[in-house]
């Protein structure tokens, strides 16, 4: 397994890439992405015909113009993913999205309901840029371990105490 060396968007082929908080990665049909999510939301953009994909591990909804890792905020992550995919020869038409995460790991109804905000903003931005969400597993109060396979477009989700599922 390969872990991205830094927070910048990185393209890696033929490997299993672990994507941490605020990171973005891209890959081709030989690539798998993995991540563990709590309140963060993983956005996967995938082109079914080209089998090219990108993933962002989004921590917060809006950057409010702040500099920093583009993958940290939903409003900077999605444009950066699209730029990275375009550089790989992957056009926006034909892309689909899958999203996961956005749980509330601490008391339901308590402070820091950031998971809900992340989900809402990701949905809003994807709608704005015209990329359909074809599958999602979001919300709740438990963490998720996800694996995305670029060759098939399958997103596998593991939650403690539950059977793994593929969406």
């Amino acid at each position: 397994m390969h872990t991205l060396a830094n927070a910048e968007a990185t393209s890696v082929k033929g490997q299993v890439i672990n994507v941490g908080m605020g990171q973005i990665a891209t890959g081709d049909r030989s690539t798998q992405f993995t991540s563990v999510l709590g309140s963060c939301v993983a956005i996967v953009l995938w082109h079914p015909r080209l089998s090219l994909g990108a993933i962002a591990h989004v921590v917060l909804p809006k950057s409010h113009g702040q500099n920093g890792q583009p993958g940290k905020f939903a409003d900077t992550a999605i444009p950066t993913m699209l730029e990275q995919l375009a550089r790989m020869g992957c056009p926006k038409p034909g892309l689909v999205a899958k999203i996961a995460g956005g749980a509330n790991m601490f008391r339901v109804g308590g402070p820091l309901q950031i998971g809900d905000d992340n989900i809402a903003t990701v949905r809003e931005i994807l709608k704005t840029v015209g990329i359909p969400i074809t599958a999602e597993d979001v919300g709740g109060t438990q963490g998720r371990k996800i694996t995305f396979t670029c060759s098939t477009g399958e997103l596998r989700i593991e939650v403690a105490g539950q059977k793994a599922k593929v969406i």
Binding site: T3, L4, N6, A7, N18, G20, M21, G22, Q23, T34, V36, L37, G38, S39, C40, H57, V59, L60, G68, Q69, K72, A103, N104, M105, F106, R107, G110, P111, L112, I114, G115, Q142, G143, R144, K145, A160, G161
Partner: protein, 205 residues
């Protein structure tokens, strides 16, 4: 004029974290009839994207007790335990034979949660004394989940301000041997400013 050169800037917080750990250790020692003590392992700034792996947890499923701070929701204390020793601690505290069922029962959860409460209160009381400001822990609660999932939400406020996370880690020992348990203190940016004001490091001359 003397100057202080800080090579690891998180180290300036060590005296405060060490004092809080000392009080938590005394409380833990009393709670476990002298069996278990705590020592401060490290105070570090870690890039957000590698927090779980740098702390050695990766994508581990852990048993945890979590406490917040009533007036500061961005500050979190997380106690992490390995399953086996946590079950044994619960058995010792409840004076029962270790429960072999895969599911934790209410008494075990209560014992571990109360352990977190005692440690957390001692830790926060020490910081209250050192910072001259009431720091009141919220009620603790028990979680079994991916550590990386829990720490993400704990780091939300720090993430809004920075691409690095300040974390203090404390280790547990039983009769001189290190246990795979930890206390992780995750201060909010506002709490960090309080810590900095309390230390008031003089700039280099």
């Amino acid at each position: 004029m003397t100057s202080t050169i800080i090579t690891n800037r998180a180290e300036i917080f060590r005296p405060l974290f060490a004092a809080a750990t000392h009080d938590a250790s005394a409380a833990m020692c009393r709670w476990t009839d002298g069996l278990i003590t705590l020592t401060l392992d490290e105070v570090r700034e870690i890039p957000l994207h590698s927090v779980a792996s740098e702390l050695g947890f990766g994508d581990d499923l852990l048993t945890m007790v979590i406490l917040g701070v009533e007036s500061d929701p961005g500050t979190v204390l997380i106690l992490t335990f390995d399953e086996e020793n946590a079950r044994q601690l619960a058995a010792t505290l409840t004076r029962r034979v270790r429960n072999t069922s895969p599911e934790w029962d209410e008494l075990e959860i209560s014992a571990l949660t109360e352990t977190g409460n005692i440690l957390g209160c001692a830790y926060m009381n020490a910081l209250t004394r050192l910072l001259g400001r009431a720091i009141i822990p919220s009620p603790p609660y028990f979680v079994r989940d991916y550590f990386a999932s829990v720490i993400q939400q704990a780091l939300v406020e720090q993430a809004a301000a920075s691409d690095v996370a300040l974390i203090g880690r404390t280790g547990f020992h039983r009769e001189g041997e290190a246990l795979n348990w930890h206390v992780l203190f995750v201060p909010s940016p506002e709490f960090r400013r309080m810590l900095e004001n309390a230390i008031a490091v003089k700039p280099n001359s």
